[in-house]
């Protein structure tokens, strides 16, 4: 019985989640492409195009450059494995499959690890464009994470003051949420932090301003330049999963409300209803941050992006965090 509840159910749940999220995130890619195409007065590809792309790439020949070392092959697999592991910690409308004290830190660490593996694979390919892309990815990564970490730790700490047993856990978001703090100052702070998280999400999934490491016109897709066939398919899937997971974090912090309570559902049906509602919320967040942002902006230079992330977003994060933390300190 212990084996059932500790091993079999979580593994089955994780596999189910992986299958669902893969489909949902690929489907979102298709919807995003269609929506952006309509904004640009194009017809656009069919909504299932990314799934076709994935299947086609998976069946294609894979070319390995002879300058590449073994990490070139290992990196896409490791990146996807990290993304799957991350699913166990991601809030999806119900409590994560694995949760414990401090799993927020594990979450952020794993999210960064995906970028790290991508960079490692790109550098191992020996292509100069990939190296430029990896350097850009590293630069933008160290610039975008501090603002987000500061914000998320402040929120966790502040919610912990409301009285939860494990403050630095994803479970916290299902007991209290940021809007419950209830003072005008914290409300303003939360709105500022929403902006911080939106920009962080945009830079995490590399759209609009932040499409710098993968800039197709400048450095020929940068990190992905030497990848083809199966490995490219894995990396594309990882990218979609990462977009879904990152958006899930934003949804969990700012829009945590479930739907099952209103219908009086319990058990598995409640989980399914919450998961579907969560997916809808993720799509709405991604619509604003990905589709609209992609349609109305171009790409910045790497120096401008770093300037923007430190001077604008980090500052906003600092102000928002201070506003939220103020009344506890005073």
């Amino acid at each position: 019985m212990d084996v059932m509840s500790n091993v079999v159910y979580p593994v089955a749940g994780l596999l189910g989640l992986y299958a669902f999220v893969s489909l949902a995130s690929l489907l979102w890619e298709g919807i995003d492409r269609k929506l952006v195409a309509r904004m640009q007065r194009r017809i656009g590809p069919p909504i299932v195009q990314p799934i076709y792309d994935f299947l086609k790439l998976a069946s294609k020949e894979t070319i390995i450059p002879n300058t590449a070392n073994y990490m070139f092959k290992a990196a896409p697999v490791l990146a996807l494995a990290t993304a799957i592991a991350l699913l166990a910690y991601t809030p999806m409308g119900f409590e994560p499959i694995l949760s414990g004290k401090g799993d927020v830190i594990v979450f952020i660490y794993l999210l960064t690890l995906i970028s790290f593996f991508k960079m490692l694979g790109a550098i191992s390919s020996g292509n100069p464009y990939a190296k430029i892309g990896a350097a850009r990815e590293a630069t933008i990564m160290v610039s975008r994470e501090p603002a987000m970490m500061l914000a998320i730790f402040t929120i966790m700490w502040r919610i912990g003051k409301l009285g939860v047993d494990k403050p630095f856990s994803m479970r916290t978001f299902y007991q209290h949420n940021i809007w419950e703090i209830g003072t005008p100052m914290s409300f303003v702070g939360a709105v500022i932090l929403l902006y911080v998280f939106a920009v962080w999400l945009a830079s995490e999934i590399e759209v609009g301003f932040f499409n710098i490491p993968d800039a197709e016109e400048e450095i020929a897709e940068g990190l992905l330049v030497e990848y083809s066939g199966r490995y490219l398919a894995l990396l594309k899937l990882t990218h979609s999963l990462k977009a879904f997971i990152s958006a899930s974090l934003v949804v969990a912090i700012f829009f945590p409300w479930g739907i099952s309570g209103y219908f009086g559902l319990t058990g598995l049906s409640a989980n399914v209803a919450d998961l579907l509602f969560h997916t809808l919320k993720v799509f709405v967040v991604l619509f604003v941050v990905q589709s609209v942002f992609r349609a109305v902006t171009g790409r910045l230079k790497i120096t401008q992006a770093v300037d923007f992330l430190w001077k604008n977003v980090f500052l906003a994060s600092l102000i928002g965090s201070l506003l939220i933390a103020m009344e506890v300190i005073m």
Partner: protein, 426 residues
Amino acid sequence: MTEKVEYWVKIPFGPIHPGLEEPEKFILTLDGEKIVDVDVKLGYNLRGIQWIGLRRNYIQIMYLAERMCGICSFSHNHTYTRAVEEAAGIEVPERAEYIRVIIGELERIHSHLLNLGVLAHDIGYDTLLHLTWLAREKVMDTLEAVSGNRVNYSMVTIGGVRRDIDEKKRRAIEEMIKYYKEVFPQIEEAFLHDPTIEARFRDTAVISKRVALEQGAVGPTGRGSGIRDDARWSERLGVYPDLGIKPVMPQDVTGERPRGDVFDRMAVRIGELWQSLELIEHALDAMPDGPIKTFPKDNVLYAKLRLMVDGEGIGRYEAPRGELVHYVRGKKGSDKPLRWKPREPTFPNLFAVAKGVIGDQVADFVVAVASIDPCLSCTDRVAVVQDGKKKILTEKDLLRESIKKTREINPDIKGDPSPLGVGCVR
């Protein structure tokens, strides 16, 4: 004694690269993201058009010249025609000159809209690309209505134009003018006042006026750097002076001093869109009645050209990319030119921008190359042949090689070949 170690990386940009539409190679020397040096390698698209041209007669070359480039096809044909007309001393009817102005300006609108879209695409701003190219469809349709073709219009012939603009075609053009009067303000607003465009284009690939003069930059590239020159204006070409042509400078559009960056070049193009629209409107109003060709039939033209072309002629015209020059030298009694040499605006501009981009980042390079609106397909007509030791082969060497090869193939060849160094006169 310590030596300074420089960690420079050389990366090839091309011949196949998603940012450059045409096969051209730039070897960038990078210090991190900073460009230290640019080495331009031309000659990946050699088609030997000049060589083909010397084997065709004057009328056939018109069609060949048109196919040098799909975008500035009218410009090439027009400039070549002017060169032959000067060599032969042919007068062009006034109505033909007006029709040439109209077609030329229609082509300028389509070329500039294309370039604006490419510029937006190169910074990842695909919405602007699609909206600009959607607007471009209208002028393509108008060109089709006027000439029957969307590209390679075949409108110009030596001594006039081939097709008249009647009431129906005139209505199509007027409808287009009405459409663009609504659309251009939106395009202008999007390109001149968008923060992303401003951030990416301002102070990027700055070509100072001195460098532009040294390298001989022409067209929007030169005007963006503050050189007040426009072949239509300085040459007093055809009926352009009557229509009140004057060079569009960046300060006319942005209201600031020209800095010579990508933004200024783009602003010149936007100003020229408006100017072209005005010129077409004026030309439609001022167009007199009369013949459109000096020689109504092509066989008459062919016979006359044999007798009339004696000496040399130069055609100068402001193509959308800059000043285009065709040189033609002919001899009485021959139906072929002895020499035909086009010079592309892209050629000097490319080296000017290669100078201007030094010190900028990798991200700026594609934008910088796109900002001169390169037509590399036009530029690559002459190949510089180099062997492994980078020795440049001269005409003498080539001739010697070809004689050697001929002797190899056919040892029984009679007679001495022509003395070395005479040149490829047929």
